[in-house]
Structure formats: structure tokens, C-alpha cells
Amino acid sequence: MDRVKFALLALALASCSTSAPSPLAVQQAPAPEPAQASLYQGRIAPILAERCGTCHGPEKQKGKLALHTPPAILAGGSDGPVIVAGKPKQSELVRRLHLPLADEDHMPPENRPQPSAEEIAALENWIAQGAPFDGGTGAPVPKPAPQNQVTGPLVGPADPAALAALEQAFVHVEKADPTSGLLWVDFAANAPKWSDAELAKLLAPLAPQVAQLGLARTQAGAQTLALARRMPHLERLDLRGTGIADAALAPIAGHARLESLVLARAKLSDASVEVLLGLPKLARVYLWESGVTQAGLARLAQERPKLAIDSGDETNTTALEVEPEPKFTSEAPPPGAAAVPAGAPAAVAVASLEPINSVCPVSGAPVNKKYMIVFEGRVIGFCCNKCPGEFWADPEKFRSKLPAN
């Protein structure tokens, strides 16, 4: 079933990213500024539209209820009014929001996105103020970012023939982000056999989509790097263990988006520091055994103080504090009443685990301390593991057999 779904999704993605305006792009439109509108317009209407609108809006009115216009809200549904102005607790709308999720009457239905606590509070606040459609005050609560929103840029669909070629060559391709068309391409399988020219050839058609590129342990060189330079969305480039040299790395200079660059075990010199300084977005760089000297690292750190540089140096962490040689004593008083938090119910503080009785209230046989229960704050012992069950079934029956206090 998954496969059918994904095949359809693939078609859907392919079609929606070419036609404008994209439905995904609409989600990115900024929310209306609540400060300039009334509380209803700025805050309440959007919540009702988002959380209730599908079934109680202009298109559907389940239970004859619509919530998209003031008159419709006031009119209520087939069960009567849904809000009582000034009284959130008596408002059906609020009551249903607070029902357990599994309750049949809970709204929105269990399988639908649920309003946040802030949104419910905003609705209650609005009703408490008399559910005004003009004016009204309320601390505007920032809207949480909806899940599955496109976080990356929208790119066109990848060239299918290029994807097929990668797959045939056992190169791993995966969506870098399930909501956008960006790709993670990784040559980890058979890495050493990939030559610079082959890499460039395979990747060229996918340049618009590649966001993360794993070239570790391949023979990637100047051709591939020149291509990487033309990948507009490339954020992470892994050249670990490629033995790449200054001249081959140079073409990447000036890449506008690259954030993370792994150059561990490259064959660079300090000349490449210039290339790194020419990457405006670079946030993390890995230079362990890369050939860049301490002087080069120092220069990089000085010119780009915010850049996280990992050169594999031993962490010279030392303890902030060392415990004195432990000595074992039994001095501390056993935790007593002080251990019980103030205000805890008295029943919790069972003072002693000694049973109050010496004979079993059920059988009359002597108490065996292995079988004890706490009943009304007192510890009661039994003769065997059967009697407690009988006792719990009807404690009143055995009350007279227990010591008075």
C-alpha cells in the first residue's frame, strides 16, 4: 500500500512543483498581524478556520454548524447554541474541546489536528469577554509553526533518468527533507572506485536538487567541485578522506549557501584557508588531518570567530571539582518525616511497616509479615497470599476483627 501511496505522491509532487501558484507556497504566507485587527479578526477567526473550518465552514456544515462568520457562530448548530457569551465553561464549543480525546463528542475529531493549549485559552478568553466581534483584548499568542511546512526552498523535480542512473550504480539518494524536493546523495557504497569525472557526470543533472552531498573516500576532485559550486542549494559537503588538494578544492570558493564542509584527511595547505574564507555561510568545518597547519587554523579562527572549526585536537578537559576520598560512615540520620514533602497527604506517611494485628483478620491464623497491605493508613498483616484478596472484596466484613487503633 505504501508503494502505491508514494508513487501517487511522486506524481503529485512532480505536478504541483511545476504549476503556479503552488499550494505549498501559500502556507508560507505570513499570518495576519493580530495587533491591528480586533481580537476576533486577528486571533479567533483564524483558529476557528484552521481547526474547525473543514467541517464547520463555508463548504461543510456538519451538525448544521458553521463557524466562519459571526452570524453563523451565534446561530449555533442542530444541538443549539455553541457559545454562551461571557461564560466559557457553559459554552458547548469549549466543553467539547476539553472532552477526552477518545470521547465521541470531542472536537476536533481525534484523527484531526488538535488546537494547542494556547489556542483553547484564547477561545476561552474571547468568550469570557462576551465573545465580541469588534475590539476585545487578549495577549496575542504567537502561532506555532505548522508541522510539515516546507522548510527548504521549492525546487523542481529531479531528472528521473539521472536518479535511475544513480540507483543503478548503487548510489544512495534520499530526500534531504521530506517536504521539499531537495536531495541527499551519498557515494558511501563503493566509494573508492568513483573517479572525479564519473562523479561529475552522474551528479550534473541533479545540481539543482542536491542539498547534501557525501563524497567521502571517493576520488572527487576539481570537476566535481566545480559542479558543486553550481549546486544552488548545497548545504553540506563531505569530502572526508578524499585526499583532495588545494587546486581541486578551489572551485568551491564563493558558494553562497554551503554551511558544513568536511575536509578531514584531505591533502590541503594553508592556501585553502582563503577558499574557506570565501564561503559566506560556512558555519562548521572539519579540518582534522587536512594538511592545514596550526597557523592556518589560527587565521581561520581569527577571521571567522563564529565558525566552528574541528581540527581533531585532543580535548584537554579537566574536572571542575574532584570528590574527596570517599569514607563510609553510618552517621546520617535515616530520612524521617523531613523526607516527606510538606503538604503531602497524611496517608502517604506510613510511620511503620509493622502490622497492627498479630492474627489474620480473615482466617484467624498468625500473621506472616510477607503478606501485608495498607488499609486506611494502617498496615494489616495476613497469614497467606489468598486472604488479602478476600479482605479487599469486603473490608467491612472484617473490620471488627482488627484492633481498634
Partner: protein, 481 residues
């Protein structure tokens, strides 16, 4: 799904490629794109991915036998003044004990014999035992959870629970779910690899079903790499058999299997074909994987002297890094021997010595190679150990029984908040007093970091959908960087 539909979709890679080579243009395009979205069996990536993944793979260091949280990670200095006092009833609260200590006449408090130091992290520092000096220096990378608890009180059900989300055997393991959810990133190696190290302390049985696939297609089960001799048995061709012979044999068998599949539609036939193909590729990839000759002296030294002993924790940590850099999704190391019922101090010394330097080296090595960013490392046993001594307590020796009510684990890398501690236990390290974490919560959070929604990653078996987190589990946002 209609079985006929399933049949049409169940194209093998070989047939898919053969078919697409003959087709051109649009038809090919849809096939290829849908395959990266999950149609081709061998690259079933993103089956349920919902979030941009922060981790691409997991290295799970399982400490089999349950290490003592009290002697390693959970610092309780006040206990030092409670030596040999009876465990108060207000702490024990009548909780169940195992049959190994329930008959004891006393439950004397055994403070840790080991000295703790405070190491810098991103909060007010992490107190770590002298048993883990190398790991302690990486406290700024680690996210400690001191408030794990589990359902089971004995090893077998507790490990089964931690690996599969259920105490009863039969469910797929965490690694198998990950393989099913993310697919392979290297078709030459198994998606889920298991490496085992024999311990120095009291050891418990280790069942192969801990890394089994349960009801998932069996290509998702963990592949155990052996320590001595051939890492994978029967991988080498017998003398006189060439690689071409092997290929011809596989092709013929595959044809027969296809015929059988067309007749029975049994998905296990597909798994079998996949596995035979995988084995064929592993004949080339595994010898290269396990050959440490390309590692520099400095690297070997970092992992410690044991690294040259196949099967040692050090060798397995290095192998884990090599698997990680080759794109294996789930790498699970088992370190046996933490079950210190008696003579805990001497056993835990040997155990800690075996794991401390290698695991710290693994973290540092992943870090310097830029791999820690997207590799999620988990260090965990199946439960904790009791604060009271099992058997005789002296100033220099004690034992500890099983304790499921609280224990400590740590994580690093792969989108985890570095340098924090989460959750607290009481002064006796016996009950959780702040932010309890269920095993299901840990699973849910780790799946989320892998880009998988733990509620969406399901598999239908015997008429209902199953999840790793069963009907529970909440993602703990505080851990996510």
C-alpha cells in the same frame, strides 16, 4: 492491499532495471522517482519519514547485564554517610525485588566505592565516576538521562523490551524497525549490523532474537559480524569456485525463486533473493570493511591497546565507525558482563576499563570525521542496579541486584542536545523524582531524530498495525538540539 497489486509492485531491482532500460522517457521517470520515494525493495527510503532527519544512523552501545548507575553516572554523595544502614521503607515503598534478594533479612545501603568528579558540560557540570575517565572528558558532548525506567526486572524480558518495545519475544527490534523505516544507504552491506563483545563480569545469555526482524520482512534483521575467523560464515567461495560461477548460480536460483514466488506470492522468497544478492555483494565489501590495515597508528592508539584483538570492545568500536562511514543505518554493539550481583567493584572495574577508552575514542573519531553530526549514539543497559547490597557488604566489596525503577543512559550526536542532564532520582538512586522516561519515550525520540514519526512507522501483522512504541511513547523535546 490486493495481492495481485502487490505482485505487480514487487519488482526486484534486477527486473526493475531491466525493464526500465528498455523503456524510455516518462514511464521510466515515474518509476525512478517513485523508487527513491520507496517503491524499489532494496532502497525503500523514507517509508514513513515525516520530519527532516537530524540523524542518518544509530550506533547503539548496549551494556548487557545492566551496569550500575550508582557506580558510574548517578552521583549520590549523601549515601557515603549511610553505609550499612537499612534501606528505609519510605524509599523502598514495598516495591518488588527479584528472587535473588527478596529473601535477604536486611537491605543494607552500599554507597559507591568510586570517586566522582564534576566535568564541564553546558549546564552546571556532570558528575562522573572515576571508572570512566575518558568518557568523562567528553561530558560536553553527552546528554545524560538519569530517569529511565523499565517494566521488566530480569535480563531476558528487559533486553527484549528495550530492543523491541515489548517484553514478550516476537516483535521486530529497534534496528529492524530503523532498517524498515529508512532503508539501506549502502547496498553492499546489511542495514543493521550487530557486534558482540564478551565481558569480564557475570554474563547472561544473549539471544539472536534481540536483533531479529519479528514479523517484518527478514532482510531487516540484524546481521551479526563474528569476531574471529570469517566475520560472516560461509561468505567466502570454496576453492575452485569463481565469482562468475557464483553469479551464474545465483541467477539460476533466482529464476527458480521467481517461478515459486509467482505461484505462492510468499514474501519470504523475495527476502531470500535479496539476501542472496546481498551476500554476493558482501563477499567483496566485508573483507574490506574488517581490514584495519588502512587505519593510522594514531587512530589505533586512540581506541586503546585492545583494538588489535578482534571482538574486543575497542575493535568493535572501530568497526562501528567504519560501518557508520560506509552508510550502515543501525550498528549495535553488545558489551556483555555487567550483571554484578556479587563482587561488583572488581567486575565493574574490568568492564569499565574495557569500554571507557574505546567508546570515548569512537565519539572523538566520529566527531573529527564530521560524522557525529548525523550519527546518533546511545549508551544504555537494560535496567539499573539496587542501592542496597546483595549478599555481604564490606568497606571494599558489595553486590547489587536488578533495579528497573531507575537507571542512567546517555546519548550523543545526531541532533541530540549536547552537554545536558535530564531527570533526577532520589537520594538513594532508587526512585525517580523528576522527569521519568519510559523506554518507549526514548524510542519515540530517537525515531523522531531519524525523521520517522513513531506513530506512523507501522507494520500490519496478524490483523493489526504494530509500532516500535506499541501504544505509548512521547517525544522528549528537551533532548533535541
Amino acid at each position: 492491499m490486493d495481492p495481485r497489486e502487490l505482485y505487480y509492485l514487487n519488482l526486484t531491482r534486477r527486473r526493475f532495471l531491466a525493464a526500465s532500460a528498455q523503456t524510455a522517457g516518462a514511464a521510466l521517470g515515474v518509476g525512478a522517482l517513485s523508487s527513491i520515494l520507496g517503491a524499489a525493495p532494496a532502497s525503500s527510503s523514507l517509508r514513513a519519514a515525516r520530519f527532516p532527519p537530524k540523524a542518518r544512523r544509530v550506533i547503539y552501545l548496549h551494556m548487557e547485564g545492566a551496569p550500575s548507575h550508582i557506580d558510574l553516572w548517578d552521583y549520590k554523595p549523601a549515601l557515603r554517610q549511610r553505609f550499612d544502614q537499612d534501606l528505609p521503607d519510605s524509599i523502598r515503598q514495598g516495591q518488588r525485588l527479584t528472587g535473588m534478594t527478596s529473601g535477604q533479612s536486611r537491605f543494607p545501603v552500599a554507597p559507591s566505592l568510586f570517586r566522582f568528579s564534576r566535568y564541564p558540560n553546558r549546564q552546571d557540570g556532570a558528575w562522573i565516576s572515576e571508572l570512566m575517565p575518558y568518557t568523562a572528558k567528553l561530558a560536553h558532548e553527552l546528554c545524560f538521562v538519569h530517569s529511565m525506567h523499565t517494566e521488566a526486572i530480569n535480563h531476558e524480558p528487559a533486553i527484549t523490551f528495550f530492543q523491541t518495545g515489548n517484553q514478550q519475544p516476537g516483535r521486530p527490534s529497534f534496528g529492524a524497525w530503523t532498517s524498515y523505516g529508512l532503508g539501506s544507504a549502502n547496498h553492499n552491506l546489511p542495514t543493521f549490523a550487530v557486534l558482540i563483545t564478551q565481558g569480564f563480569g557475570n554474563m547472561q545469555a544473549l539471544s539472536a532474537r534481540f536483533w531479529g526482524a519479528g514479523f517484518l520482512p527478514s532482510e531487516h534483521q540484524g546481521c551479526k559480524l563474528r569476531a574471529g575467523g570469517d566475520p560472516v560464515l560461509y561468505l567466502r567461495d570454496p576453492a575452485g569456485v569463481t565469482r562468475e560461477d557464483r553469479r551464474a548460480l545465483l541467477d539460476t536460483v533466482e529464476q527458480l525463486n521467481e517461478t515459486e514466488f509467482a505461484r505462492t506470492l510468499d514474501p519470504e522468497i523475495r527476502s531470500r533473493v535479496e539476501q542472496a544478492e546481498m551476500a554476493y555483494r558482501m563477499q567483496m565489501s566485508v573483507p574490506e570493511l574488517t581490514d584495519f590495515s588502512s587505519e593510522s597508528e594514531a587512530t589505533l592508539e586512540m581506541y586503546g591497546p585492545d583494538v588489535k584483538k578482534p571482538g574486543s570492545f575497542a575493535a568493535n568500536c572501530l568497526l562501528a565507525r567504519r560501518l557508520a562511514e560506509r552508510g550502515v543505518r543501525f550498528i549495535q554493539l553488545y558489551m556483555r558482563g555487567w550483571d554484578a550481583h556479587n563482587n561488583l567493584p572488581s567486575e565493574i572495574r574490568a568492564q569499565s576499563k574495557a569500554v571507557d577508552q574505546p567508546q570515548a575514542a569512537l565519539l572523538a573519531d566520529l566527531r573529527q570525521r564530521g560524522l557525529l553530526d548525523d550519527t546518533l549514539v546511545l549508551w544504555a543497559g537494560e535496567f539499573g542496579r539496587t542501592v542496597y547490597s546483595q549478599g555481604a557488604l564490606s568497606q571494599t566489596n558489595y553486590g547489587r541486584d536488578h533495579h528497573p525503577r531507575c537507571f542512567s543512559v546517555w546519548m550523543a550526536g545526531g541532533g541530540i542536545q549536547p552537554g545536558i542532564s535530564y531527570g533526577k532520582t532520589d537520594d538513594y538512586a532508587y526512585n525517580i523524582v523528576e522527569n521519568p522516561v519510559e523506554v518507549h519515550d526514548l524510542h519515540a525520540t530517537m525515531l523522531e531524530l531519524l525523521g520517522l514519526d513513531h506513530e506512523q512507522l507501522t507494520y500490519r501483522s496478524q490483523g493489526r498495525d504494530f509500532r516500535l512504541t506499541d501504544v505509548s511513547g512521547k517525544v522528549i523535546r528537551e533532548w533535541i538540539a
